[in-house]
Symmetry: C2
Subunit: 304 residues, 2 copies
């Protein structure tokens, strides 16, 4: 089977032109990191994790380094992943001092005792399992700190509602036909401490079933939870339906039920892709065509 | 429209005979508390909250007072609820010192800024919004403390895996045709601190859509999350399918995907009910027939 990979860097307002080149290079690097794994016969799960880690480590995406700050001025991260061939999942929510939330979610999955750890307990689990710890200010970029400070100095609502995209995610199909999905975020800007969004919720931000499809969603997290968006999009693939159409239908249901805006990437077991968004913009990277030959021939498309 | 109400007190091993009478009276009181609201023209949301609060306050159910303890010997509660007519939801996870988690989840919904708060942040929100706080040991019953101590003194695994049911939940249809669902739990016995289970996850333990159905699920929480069980059961009602059949089909999918065991209660917009479980036992209360006339005539069925 020819592998396929789709990654995203969030859905929301358009990326300011001053940031486009850097975000484009971040998405390119993340795509290539995941793609290298797939064309060497690696698993879909490894590919989505590697692509996600690369974006978490990039300061211009809202995940890991560069996360949005809470109203307390701290970083609390959410992430989840799912292996569509085993239905194994791992998720973490509202966790501080975590450099790569997707690696912690994967460790939760591998440990196997639970699938979802949050807050203090997730942080303790990370320490006990030897995951790299981040100092309190290590994940805070000057850009995010300035944004938080500007809101504090202003009257409030205007800047909070200015939704800058940047949640990251990936879906992959490997050469053995396995599908996987991963999503990671710093959450919504100026959120309450302890707020968990769709990126940590299996069925909302992330879902994968190797018989049906894999999805990573992003946008208005509260509404994505209410609509179980990723699960809905995957369910709409039942019977071999077209992913492009399923992605649009899932978002139409979200709009009808909640009026929320979102975007999603969707991949089916045949490697067919769906990308749709109701926000102004969505950052994605994908390779046109598919298969190993396309490493050289397929054209990498990166949209920021 | 004639109202309907279904409540449950968990799925798992059979209730020990010494506890059956007390659990039966708890379920009866909870059912009547919710039913009183419905027959007086109250909302489905108020009914499921009131039934759930009554069971949280009862010491023989694993929610609120009487919750299972974590491996640290503490109580950390999960709960969620959903109004199927507005798609509004509220959820809390891994929260300490909370007497009635379902009331906190409802406060999160009413506040409206987020839908899911966990850990420290959920606890702060509860304090700031004036919800009753519980002292560290106030929710720990002698029965649960003894169980936790017995595991500490023993070799371990045997008692941890002895799954005593007791998560609580309710689904209701009110006279205006609105559906709602609620679920609350202390979680799995001897869990890690910070573990969040299906009861806090919209789409897993709880889902409601007034056009399709309302569901509260319980059982192997990790597997219920992987299978998005409540969302799956509600989706299976699409097109007016029979809830009894949908409940069985949803559990069959759970079994196939994860081998987990669970139970669920399901209600459709016509007041038709589905109850199914793959565990040894499930505690439920429902009134045969429906409508205001059944306050006197309908027979209350309580199974523990």
């Amino acid at each position: 089977m020819t592998p396929a990979l789709l990654i995203h860097g969030g859905a929301g307002a358009a990326t300011p032109s001053a940031l486009q080149a850097e975000r484009r290079s971040g998405l390119t690097a993340a795509f290539e990191a995941g793609w290298d794994i797939l064309i060497q016969g690696g698993t879909a799960l490894d590919a989505v994790v590697q692509a996600t880690v690369t974006l978490e480590d990039h300061p211009l995406f809202n995940a890991g380094l560069g996360s949005c700050l809470t109203e307390d001025g701290t970083v609390e991260v959410d992430a989840s992943l799912m292996d569509g061939s085993t239905f194994q999942t791992g998720a973490v929510g509202a966790a501080k001092h975590i450099k790569n939330a997707i690696c912690l979610a994967r460790e939760v999955m591998t440990d196997g005792r639970h699938v979802f750890l949050v807050g203090r307990g997730a942080e303790r689990f990370a320490r006990e399992h030897g995951l790299p710890q981040a100092a309190a200010d290590e994940l805070i970029t000057p850009r995010q700190h300035q944004r938080w400070q500007a809101l504090r100095l202003s009257s409030g609502q205007a800047q909070r509602s200015n939704s800058e995209p940047g949640t990251v995610g990936a879906v992959a199909l490997d050469s053995s036909g396995r599908l996987a999905a991963a999503t990671s975020t710093g959450g919504v800007f100026d959120k309450r401490a302890g707020r968990v969004g769709d990126s940590a919720v299996i069925g909302a931000g992330t879902y994968a079933d190797s018989a049906m499809g894999a999805c990573s969603a992003t946008g208005d997290g509260e509404d994505i939870i209410r609509a179980t968006l990723a699960r809905t999009a995957v369910e709409l693939l039942r019977g071999g339906k077209d992913p492009a159409q399923a992605a649009r239908t899932a978002l139409a249901r979200l709009t009808r039920q909640t009026r929320g805006e979102a975007g999603l990437i969707l991949l089916d077991p045949f490697g067919r892709r769906g990308v749709a968004y109701t926000t102004e913009s969505m950052s994605v990277a994908l390779r046109l065509g598919s298969g190993q030959a396309f490493r050289a021939e397929g054209r990498l498309v990166v949209r920021v």
